[in-house]
């Protein structure tokens, strides 16, 4: 096709780099520079987010893990219809909504911590 000297065309799908503004808060610069203290901040955020995620997942796993046994024991097609056909979807959406609120609150608290604002 083209001469070999033509430079290879690259597709840039990444976000455009912006000039890094100076960190406004000390904790933020600790995080940016990956100091031990900065690492501890990130770990604390990860722990709280993982806890929220595991809570939601544990509830889901518990329900989904026991339901087949319950259905097997009761042998009632009507029950299976009622539970799996209609009543599972609203609780699933509610659980998702609960998790999003938890996760966003965790991030909010974390931002407050980093910016050094006192807890309300």
């Amino acid at each position: 096709m083209s001469a070999e000297s033509t430079p290879r065309r690259e597709v840039v799908t990444g976000e455009p780099r912006r000039v890094r503004p100076l960190p406004r808060y000390r904790a933020q610069s600790e995080i940016d520079e990956q100091t031990a203290l900065g690492g501890a901040y990130v770990r604390s955020l990860m722990r709280s987010q993982l806890r929220a995620g595991l809570t939601a997942f544990a509830v889901l796993a518990l329900v989904a893990g026991t339901l087949p046994l319950v259905f097997e024991a009761l042998h009632s097609n009507a029950l299976v219809w009622a539970v799996l056909g209609f009543t599972t979807y609203p609780p699933l959406t509610l659980a998702a909504w609960w998790y999003v609120r938890r996760a966003e609150r965790n991030e909010h608290d974390f931002a407050r911590l980093v910016e050094g604002r006192p807890a309300p």
Partner: protein, 496 residues
């Protein structure tokens, strides 16, 4: 088939195909930059994106397959839609926001960014293409079946038609146009299933509400070990959703991690709303089309019901609406998957990048599953899709979950997990489809629903080999974790 094709149904299919191409063409005009083309410039807001994800996700398996399985095997099959929905909850709590913040467009991008290893990247690419192809085959076969029922056309025609339309729509407009196509198709699919369902239920009430009996079970496939099969299904669908290549790509079009989460909640609501409908068709099919239980094509139940229950012109028109919706289902999922597979082929297989090569990759991405759909014998569509979920759950789920939450993951660990977990699931699926091991018996059950054992194998291999190679932890792990988990507002240098 028993009902001759009606011109209205053919017209509805033609209309859906035409609308898809036109909306895609509209996208072509506004899809100006490369970023537009691949990721819609990351500007798709939660509600629009959620409708697009749902439109893309609700495939032939959802539109036709669930009703067919419920008809044949009874209400236990309702675990399929529940699993397809619950998978999004698992995706939300472990993956959604960090995946968006990782800045990865595809799973290979994620693997490379997190583990800094070209080897892992290449292996993940193989699995993305493999899972995508396994998922595409039933979509194309469903299209063939639908067209055969509607017009009596030979079975391969629908496969080829859908494949061609997908190539045109995807290659022309890329992600921006696909977003609009998918949003349009979600609402089309919901309407196409809802309106006939209302009329069917009214007709059933007019008949004096005959009772639907599920006493006669002919679980050829599942006679032995139904409980094991149920758990296999639960594990595969709950954990497999997060790794489906076309779903992952859509998360990258969210503006930020917070919006990615909110998008997922909306997806749960939209998908859950849709799944209220297929069971209605399954139950009524048991009543009005009982012969499908013993014949092969139970997937056709949804399409046949209006003519059976209502009949006349009304039945034909409702049947046409369903046919249009079914085609929307094939087209949307097939184009989303083709888009994702083609993206991987462009980046990791073809020598040079660029939009022109992407178009070549599109043809490649759909040609292989098209050949497969014409050669491989038909498996019930929801079962075939379940296999793609099992592969995804055993390979991508460990990679994503451990990659996002565990700092000690190493490239050798990831490779071991992918090969042992995902590889064994892929092999089981291949053996099942080839028919080498037949039911009844444990060997068949274990191979047809591999997720129960292959997911733990994948996780264990990844964890144990990573622990055995502590020196290989990538140097950028801490930076990656910070990027994944910190809200965008706190990472300096990022806009918003």
């Amino acid at each position: 088939m028993s009902t001759p094709g009606h011109p209205a149904a053919v017209a509805a299919v033609a209309l859906v195909v035409l609308a898809t191409v036109l909306v895609g063409g509209f996208g072509l005009r506004i899809s100006r930059t490369t970023s537009d083309f691949y990721v819609a410039s990351r500007t798709v807001r939660p509600r629009l994106n959620a409708a697009a994800i749902s439109g893309e996700y609700l495939s032939a398996a959802s539109f036709l397959g669930i009703a067919g399985l419920v008809l044949v095997h009874g209400p236990d099959m309702l675990w399929y839609p529940v699993g397809y929905t619950a998978g999004y909850l698992v995706l939300l709590v472990f993956v959604a926001a960090p995946l968006r913040r990782s800045g990865a467009y595809t799973l290979p991008d994620f693997a490379e960014g997190r583990l800094e290893s070209q080897q892992v990247r290449r292996l993940v690419s193989v699995f993305v293409v493999g899972a995508g192809w396994v998922y595409l085959v039933p979509q194309l076969q469903g299209a063939g079946l639908t067209l055969k029922i509607l017009t009596g056309a030979p079975g391969w025609l629908g496969d080829v038609l859908v494949a061609s339309v997908v190539v045109v729509a995807v290659a022309a407009g890329g992600m921006r146009s696909i977003t609009f196509v998918q949003v349009f198709q979600y609402w089309l699919k919901l309407t196409a299933l809802l309106v006939p369902a209302v009329f069917l239920v009214l007709a059933w009430q007019g008949d004096g509400r005959p009772r639907v009996s599920f006493e006669e079970q002919i679980s050829v496939f599942r006679a032995d070990h139904p409980l094991y099969a149920t758990y296999g299904l639960i594990v595969a669908t709950f954990l497999g959703t997060m790794g489906l290549p076309h779903v992952v790509v859509r998360f990258y079009t969210s503006p930020n991690g917070r919006d990615a989460r909110r998008t997922t909640v909306a997806v749960l609501a939209l998908v859950g709303l849709f799944y209220l409908l297929p069971p209605v068709y399954g139950a009524l099919g048991r009543l009005y089309a009982p012969e499908l239980m013993h014949g092969g094509d139970a997937d056709a139940a949804v399409l046949l019901l209006p003519a059976r229950v209502i009949g006349g012109l009304g039945g034909d028109l409702l049947g046409a609406l369903l046919a249009g919706g079914a085609f929307a289902a094939f087209l949307s999922t097939a184009s989303g998957l083709t888009m994702a597979v083609a993206g991987v082929i462009t980046q990791d297989v073809l020598p040079s990048r660029g939009v022109r090569h992407f178009r070549l990759a599109t043809v490649l991405a759909i040609a292989v599953p098209l050949a497969g759909s014409l050669v491989i014998s038909r498996v019930p569509v929801a079962d075939a899709v379940g296999m793609a979920f099992a592969v995804s759950a055993s390979s991508f789920c460990p990679l994503l979950v451990l990659g996002i939450w565990w700092r000690r993951l190493t490239p050798p660990g990831a490779i071991a997990g992918l090969l042992l977990g995902g590889g064994s699931a892929l092999l089981s699926v291949a053996i099942t489809v080839s028919g080498a091991v037949r039911p009844p018996g444990w060997p068949h059950a274990l191979l047809a629903w591999p997720a129960v054992w292959s997911v733990p194998v994948g996780f264990l291999a990844m964890i144990l080999v990573s622990l055995a190679t502590p020196g290989r932890v990538p140097p950028g792990t801490n930076a990656a974790m910070t990027r994944f988990h910190l809200p965008e507002a706190l990472t300096s240098g990022r806009g918003r």
